[in-house]
């Protein structure tokens, strides 16, 4: 093990395409990911509350900052200032370490997630196995939290989540394998477990795996999309923290910062599994229709998308500023929102300038920047769709019961994913 680490640290030449594999860039990306994911969780927190509120004919946070934009920050400060309670009956050390396990597992998954062909911490050749292994460690945090609390509700919550996560992992793994099988249909003739390699396989074969061998790829994707909701303990599979049954499930006894670590881990895990689904089936960082619309003009049009997205957001914010009540109470909020709009507009302008500058020159710095922005943009956009789906599920569906959940996992999803795997293998051999 130490030898392996040392050899990894000593490797100066790029092991994999671009900067992935160079330890300098790896370090930079680790920092960016920590900051970015934390920021994304904060955004997601605000978005979930707002979107859920609008599903439910309410307004959601409106008071802290314009349209409640500063609410997550206020929440974070409140949680950090809260009294740190460890129940006297709890196992102190394990109680303390449980949220960290969940958080570590959730963040470690990001080491193999490629945001672009070169925008990744590492390109392990066993990337997808690493992901499956690490993300299942998340259950350990929950089980340990439930056990250490020494209380009945957390115990039942922990029991539920351990059974649930273990059984959905099986269907999830089989769905992943059928995607991996598809990578072996490359021209080189060998498959890959590397996350970057999987996206490149989709690029080479000219089709996202969700559309490959239709409907086989789609079914595998659907299985994964369901299993990942169960894996992250979200509605309608949120039995481990079923509020109306177990008060708060495994984190009933947690409060303050420790509780917020659980929340951070949950949202980070949601983003991570969505990123994996995007990588495996939705072409990762690739923009839509690279095979059909590959003329340079299309290249240019699609590269304008990030800029226009931010411009759109700025426009929405400006409209919101204009529609604020004229009362003097709202003066500061108006100014705040206007500043936010200007900020978004500035980002939009910057992105558009980069897109235009990187248009013709193929090897210039601007072109590299443009490509990087494009890749990350499309990746984040696809992940964002999944995040919205998570909110949508939560607003629409009641919660499954424990036995029904297990029934779906073992009696429905497992046979289907197994069948899809076998059929994919057969079709793959015939096509090859």
């Amino acid at each position: 093990m130490p030898n392996f680490i040392m050899s990894y640290l000593r490797s100066t030449e790029a092991l994999t395409p671009g900067s992935a594999g160079s330890q300098f860039w790896a370090l930079i990306y680790v920092l960016i990911i920590f900051a970015g994911v934390s920021l994304a969780v904060i955004c997601m927190n605000w978005l979930e509350r707002k979107a859920l509120a609008h599903f439910q004919v309410r307004l959601g946070p409106m008071r802290v900052g314009p349209h409640g934009l500063l609410q997550p920050i206020a929440d974070a400060v409140k949680l950090m200032l809260k009294e740190d309670i460890i129940p006297t009956e709890a196992d102190q050390f394990v109680f303390w370490v449980a949220p960290l396990i969940g958080l570590l597992a959730a963040f470690t998954v990001y080491t193999v997630i490629p945001f672009g062909p070169t925008q990744a911490v590492s390109d392990m050749n066993i990337g997808i196995l690493f992901m499956l292994g690490v993300s299942s460690l998340g259950v350990l945090g929950i089980v340990v939290a439930g056990w250490a609390s020494n209380s009945h509700y957390p115990l039942i919550g922990a029991l539920r989540s351990s059974a649930q996560m273990v059984s959905y992992e099986v269907a999830m793994g089989l769905a992943v394998i059928s995607a991996i099988l598809m990578t072996s249909l490359n021209t080189s003739g060998t498959g890959t477990l590397s996350m970057i390699g999987i996206v490149q396989a989709q690029q080479q074969q000219g089709v996202w795996f969700i559309f490959k061998f239709f409907p086989l790829g789609f079914i595998a994707f659907a299985i994964f999309a369901i299993a990942m909701v169960a894996e992250t303990n979200r509605a309608p599979f949120d039995l481990a923290e079923a509020e109306s049954e177990l008060t708060a499930g495994f984190h009933t006894e947690y409060s303050g910062l420790r509780w917020s670590l659980f929340m951070l881990a949950e949202y980070a895990a949601m983003i991570a599994v969505s990123a994996i689904a995007v990588t495996l089936w939705l072409g990762g960082w690739m923009r839509p229709f690279p095979n059909l619309l590959h003329a340079p003009v299309w290249e240019f049009i699609f590269s304008l998308c990030p800029g226009f997205t931010f411009a759109g957001l700025a426009a929405i914010t400006l409209i919101g500023t204009a529609r604020m009540p004229a009362h003097s109470f709202f003066k500061i909020q108006r100014i705040g929102l206007a500043v936010f709009a200007v900020l978004l507009g500035f980002i939009a302008l910057l992105l558009l300038v980069i897109a235009v500058a990187g248009r013709s020159a193929d090897i210039s710095v601007a072109a590299r920047f443009r490509d990087g922005i494009d890749h990350v943009y499309w990746f984040v956009l696809k992940v964002a769709v999944f995040m919205y789906m998570f909110i949508w599920y939560r607003a629409t569906w009641p919660r499954y019961r424990f036995d029904q959940l297990m029934k779906i996992g073992w009696k429905v999803m497992l046979p289907i994913s197994l069948g899809v795997l076998v059929v994919t293998a057969i079709v793959g051999v015939i096509v090859k």
Binding site: I156, S244, R399, D403
Partner: protein
């Protein structure tokens, strides 16, 4: 186990029944001990301050015991120290979700004791407000029941629409929840200008809203899985336990006091009594949804046929009923709400006893959840539609 936990255990044993021996956990499946789970009185899904002690084997419920009384205010004792009209507002505080029904039952019981009758216009106003309140009560039930099963959104839809009913109450008598809408002998207030229009507007407003709720739930696969064959109770069991209301009707017994022994003006209206077949949570859901439609039918007929005339019957200034006793019951949204009043000829009741539907229906909890899972306990508490203010009184 340390001393404190032992103490707690002894505390529980005060309440132990023969079928729920909390002292000695039995060895069960896989050599694991039974678990005693204390659900409530502070719990998001026990609808107030109900405490349910669950005996669990894993997640399976082996037995339950309800501990009630956390909201006991001694309403029946208060009645003995108040005059008949002074006690009238107190009944609103029992089932605060359906305060109008409570008031109707009490006023009619005293009227029966006094041998007076409310004039027809008062009766019609009573029917309109009571049926509006039935819809409001069912809306609250639907929202919280769905929330217990994990669907958050219906709660906000039902509360949004319940607001329209509460607005009508507020315009009529100034209060939204504990209305004190009726007086012994009739109604205190004449309807306000535009009352009929408001009620009719509500009917046209509300019809598509029920479809909206149903779109979210009725054919939702998860909702079906969570409610079908959950908390099944047979009609015979219901009758044996004294369970009434939608719970009884969902088990296939066609018993509704509005038809069986009509009070107020119900004999003059045309409406159906929905019944279920299986007596499960889904049937109870459907029965209540159809009841909302039927209530709308009744309101429409009552508003269109609202007679002119006085709204107060011939009631003496000082209410002094003759010596005697009376039992009068009405069909509240939750079941049979009865008042038993003993009069000794003075201005105050000698004894007043309330037969609250929630209290009696709650007895069925154990029968319904035995052998089911923890999640079903929550679903069944929701489907019984209890209000703890009425259970404890």
């Amino acid at each position: 186990m340390n001393d404190r936990a032992k103490e707690n255990k002894n505390d529980l044993s005060i309440h132990s029944l023969s079928n729920l021996d909390l002292e000695a956990p039995e060895k069960t499946y896989l050599d694991s001990n039974e678990l005693i789970l204390n659900m409530g009185p502070q719990h998001p899904a026990t609808h107030g301050v109900l405490r349910v002690i669950l005996k669990l084997d894993g997640e399976k419920v082996l037995g339950t015991e309800c501990v009630i009384g956390y909201l006991h205010r001694g309403v029946e004792k208060i009645a003995e120290n108040r005059t008949y009209s002074m006690f009238n507002p107190y009944v609103d505080r029992m089932d605060y979700v359906a305060a109008v029904s409570n008031g109707l039952g009490y006023c009619e019981a005293v009227e029966k004791l006094l041998n007076v009758e409310a004039p027809p216009r008062a009766k019609y106003i009573r029917v309109i407000l009571t049926e509006l309140n039935r819809i409001a009560s069912h809306q609250l039930w639907l929202g919280t029941h769905a929330l217990d099963i994990g669907a958050m959104t219906p709660l906000f839809y039902t509360f949004r629409d319940r607001e329209e009913i509460l607005k009508i109450f507020e315009k009529y008598c100034g209060a939204r929840l504990t209305t004190h809408a009726f007086r012994i002998g009739g109604c205190q207030y004449e309807t306000y200008a535009g009352f009929e229009k408001d009620v009719k507007n509500f009917l046209t407003f509300f019809a598509p809203k029920i479809d909206e709720y149903e779109a979210l739930l009725t054919t939702n696969r998860i909702w079906l899985e969570r409610t079908k064959n959950v908390g099944v109770i047979s009609g015979a069991d219901c009758i044996a336990l004294g369970v009434t209301g939608p719970v009884l009707r969902a088990s296939g017994v066609k018993w509704d006091l509005r038809k069986a022994q009509p009070y107020a003006a119900y004999s003059e209206f045309d409406f159906e009594i929905p019944t279920g077949e299986n007596g499960d949570t889904y049937d109870r859901y459907m029965v209540r949804m159809i009841e909302m439609w039927q209530s709308m039918r009744i309101i429409e007929q009552a508003v269109n046929g609202l007679p002119e005339g006085p709204i107060m019957g011939k009631v003496p200034k000082v209410i002094k009923p003759p010596v005697g006793e009376i039992y009068h019951s009405i069909e509240a949204p939750k079941g049979e709400l009865g008042y038993f009043i003993v009069s000794d000829g003075s201005t105050q009741p000698y004894r007043l006893r309330v037969r609250p539907p929630s209290f009696v229906n709650l007895q069925a909890l154990d029968v319904m959840v035995r052998g089911m899972l923890v999640a079903d306990v929550v679903a069944v508490i929701g489907t019984l539609d209890i209000v703890l203010g009425e259970v404890d009184r």
